[in-house]
C-alpha cells in the first residue's frame, strides 16, 4: 500500500490536467453554439474566430468557458461526462432490467469479451503446443523459432480486415470466429516465446538429477519442465490477454461490424457522437485492466501454492 498515495496523486494530477484541457479544446464549439442561440460573442462569426487563438477566445469570452464543459458533442469531454455516459449505458440500463439490450455497453462488452476469451484460449493452447514441439524437436526449433521472433516485429494487425473478408467468403457467419482468430494470432507468439523460455528454464544440473532418478521423458516434462515454466507462462499470459483484446477490437473496427466495443467506437466516429467513443474506450480500458488484474491475482495464488512466490 506504500504505492497508493503516489499513484493517487498522479491520477489526480492527470484528471486535473484533463479538466484544464477541456476549456481550450471546446471553446470554439461552445462559442459556435452560443452564437447560434443569439448570445453576443467576440469575434462574431466562426470565420473570424478561426484565426484567433483559443487562449484569446477564452480571454474575450469568459462567460462561455462554463459552456465548454457542458457540450453535447465536445471535442474533449470531461471525465465526468465520460463517466456519466458509461453509467447511462451500463448501470442505468441494468437497473431498468435491459442490461443485454443492443444499446447497452454491457451487451457490446460481452460480445468483445467472448471473442477475446476464445481467441485467448485458442492462442494460448496453440502457443503452448508449439513451445513443447520447439523444445523437444530440433527441426521445429530451427525452422519455427526464427519466424516466431521475426513475426513479433510485423504489424500483424494489418491482416485483420483480410481475415474478416476471408472468413466471410468461406461462408462463416458473423464476426465471432474471425475476431477470435485475429485475437488468437496476436496472443499466439508472446505465449510461444515465453513458454519456450520457461520450458528451457531448468538448469542442466536439475535435468541431470532427474536422470539419476531414471525419470522418463514424460516425468521430466511433468515434474520439472512444466512447473518451472509457470512463472514465464503467467507473464506471457498477461501480455497475451492484452494482445487478444487489442486484436478483437481491431477486428471490430473495419466497416460493417455492428456489435462489440470496437464497433461502438467506429459507429461513434461515423455518427459524430464523441461521448459514445469515449465511453466505449473507457469500457475497453476497464475490461483490459480487469483481465490483467485477474491473471495477476491467479499468478500470485498459483505461485504461492507452488512455493515459488517471488
Amino acid at each position: 500500500m506504500r504505492a497508493a498515495l503516489p499513484v493517487l496523486t498522479v491520477l489526480a494530477a492527470i484528471l486535473l490536467l484533463w479538466y484544464l484541457a477541456v476549456a481550450p479544446m471546446n471553446i470554439r464549439g461552445a462559442l459556435d453554439l452560443a452564437e447560434r442561440s443569439g448570445r453576443a460573442v467576440t469575434p462574431e462569426t466562426p470565420l473570424a474566430r478561426q484565426d484567433v487563438s483559443v487562449w484569446r477566445l477564452m480571454a474575450q469570452n469568459p462567460g462561455q468557458i462554463a459552456a465548454a464543459y457542458e457540450l453535447d458533442r465536445p471535442r474533449l469531454p470531461t471525465p465526468q461526462q465520460v463517466g456519466g455516459e458509461l453509467w447511462k449505458t451500463t448501470g442505468e440500463m441494468a437497473l431498468r432490467g435491459r442490461a443485454m439490450s443492443k444499446r447497452s455497453l454491457i451487451y457490446h462488452a460481452a460480445v468483445t469479451l467472448r471473442s477475446t476469451l476464445w481467441g485467448f484460449v485458442l492462442g494460448t493452447a496453440l502457443g503452448i503446443l508449439g513451445a513443447v514441439a520447439i523444445v523437444y524437436s530440433r527441426v521445429v526449433d530451427m525452422s519455427l523459432m526464427p519466424w516466431a521472433i521475426i513475426s513479433q516485429t510485423i504489424p500483424i494487425v494489418a491482416l485483420a480486415p483480410m481475415i474478416i473478408v476471408l472468413s466471410s467468403q468461406l461462408g462463416i457467419e458473423g464476426r465471432g470466429v474471425p475476431k477470435a482468430i485475429i485475437a488468437a494470432y496476436l496472443c499466439y507468439f508472446p505465449v510461444l516465446v515465453g513458454m519456450v523460455k520457461g520450458l528451457r528454464a531448468p538448469a542442466p544440473s536439475q535435468l541431470d538429477l532427474l536422470q539419476t532418478y531414471s525419470a522418463s521423458g514424460l516425468q521430466v516434462f511433468l515434474k520439472l519442465r512444466l512447473p518451472s515454466s509457470v512463472p514465464y507462462l503467467f507473464t506471457s499470459l498477461k501480455i497475451g490477454i492484452a494482445a487478444s483484446l487489442v486484436g478483437t477490437i481491431v477486428g471490430e473496427l473495419p466497416t460493417g461490424a455492428i456489435s462489440g466495443l470496437g464497433a461502438r467506437i467506429l459507429i461513434g466516429d461515423q455518427f459524430g457522437t464523441p461521448l459514445a467513443i469515449w465511453a466505449a474506450l473507457l469500457a475497453a480500458a476497464l475490461m483490459a485492466g480487469a483481465l490483467v488484474t485477474l491473471l495477476d491475482l491467479l499468478q500470485r495464488i498459483t505461485l504461492k501454492r507452488m512455493g515459488m512466490q517471488a
Partner: protein, 282 residues
C-alpha cells in the same frame, strides 16, 4: 491436382531435408542456421501456391504468392507512395516525437522518487490498454493527413518507452553512484556518464517494442480516414473493392518495413550497448 501433389511432395521433401540438416554435424554452422528457417518459409509459400492452384481457390479469396509478387512488382510506385505516407511520415515522425517525449519525461520524473512510484504502475497499466481505440478521436482532432497518424503513434509508443526507461534509470547500484560521488561528479555528470548508459539496454527494449506499435498505430489509424494514399487506406479500400492481391502486397510491405525498422533499432542497440552480456558473441 498436379499442383497439390507437387506442393505436398515439396513439403515432405523439404521437411526431411530440414530434419536431416538439423541432425547433421553441420547443424551449428551459420549456413545451416539460416538455411533451415529459410527453407521452412519457402515451403510455406510453395504449399500456399499449390493449395491455391490445386484447389482452384478464387483470387478474390486468397491470391497465390506468385500473383501477389507480380502485383508487387507492377505497383511499386503505389506501394512506395503508401510507404512514404504511412511509415516515413506517420510512423517514424510519431516514433521520434513519442520516444523523445518519453525519454525527457522519464529523466524529469526520475528526480522524484514519489513521482516514479506513482507513474510506474500507471504506465504499466496504460501500456496494457487497447490504446489503438483513440485513433478516431485523434483523427478528428488532427485531420486526415499524417499528423493524426503521428499523434496516434506518439500516444502508443510513449508508455512502453517511459516505463522501460524509468526502470533502467534505477539500474545503477549504490556502489557505482558512490564512486561517481568520489569523483565529485554532479547530477548531470552522473546521469550522462553512468545512469543513462546503464539504462540503455532497458531503453532499447522499450524502443524495440515501440517499433511494432508505431507501425500498427499508423496503419490502423488510417482505417478512420486518410488522404487517398497510405498503407492502411489501401488495405481497407482494397478489401472493399476486392483487389486482394494489392492488399497482400501492402501486407508484405508492412512486414518488411516492420522487420527492417526493428533490425535498425537492434543494430543501434548493438552499437550502443556493446558492453552488455546479452550482446557478447558466442
Amino acid at each position: 491436382m498436379m499442383w497439390l501433389i507437387f506442393a505436398l511432395a515439396f513439403w515432405a521433401g523439404a521437411w526431411a531435408l530440414n530434419a536431416a540438416l538439423a541432425r547433421s554435424r553441420w547443424r551449428d554452422t551459420r549456413v545451416v542456421r539460416i538455411a533451415v528457417p529459410v527453407l521452412f518459409g519457402v515451403t510455406l509459400l510453395v504449399l500456399w501456391e499449390g493449395m491455391v492452384r490445386g484447389l482452384g481457390v478464387s483470387p478474390v479469396i486468397l491470391p497465390a504468392p506468385s500473383v501477389v509478387a507480380q502485383t508487387f512488382a507492377a505497383s511499386t510506385e503505389t506501394l512506395w507512395e503508401d510507404f512514404r505516407q504511412t511509415v516515413l511520415k506517420g510512423a517514424l515522425t510519431g516514433f521520434a516525437i513519442g520516444a523523445s517525449a518519453a525519454l525527457l519525461t522519464s529523466v524529469a520524473i526520475d528526480r522524484s522518487a514519489f513521482l516514479t512510484r506513482g507513474l510506474l504502475p500507471i504506465g504499466n497499466f496504460v501500456a496494457a490498454l487497447p490504446i489503438i481505440g483513440i485513433a478516431p478521436i485523434l483523427v478528428s482532432w488532427f485531420g486526415f493527413d499524417w499528423q493524426s497518424k503521428a499523434a496516434v503513434v506518439v500516444v502508443m509508443v510513449f508508455f512502453p518507452i517511459l516505463v522501460n526507461t524509468v526502470q533502467g534509470l534505477r539500474e545503477t547500484d549504490a556502489m557505482q553512484r558512490d564512486l561517481m560521488r568520489t569523483y565529485a561528479a554532479g547530477y548531470w555528470h552522473t546521469l550522462l556518464k553512468l545512469r543513462l548508459p546503464a539504462a540503455m539496454p532497458f531503453i532499447f527494449n522499450g524502443l524495440k517494442i515501440a517499433t511494432t506499435l508505431a507501425l500498427i498505430g499508423a496503419i490502423v489509424a488510417e482505417y478512420f480516414g486518410s488522404p487517398t494514399r497510405g498503407m492502411g487506406f489501401r488495405i481497407s479500400t482494397g478489401v472493399g473493392s476486392l483487389s486482394i492481391d494489392l492488399v497482400w502486397a501492402e501486407i508484405a510491405v508492412a512486414a518488411l518495413a516492420g522487420t527492417a525498422f526493428y533490425s535498425l533499432v537492434a543494430l543501434a542497440e548493438r552499437a550502443v550497448t556493446f558492453w552488455h552480456p546479452s550482446q557478447r558473441r558466442r
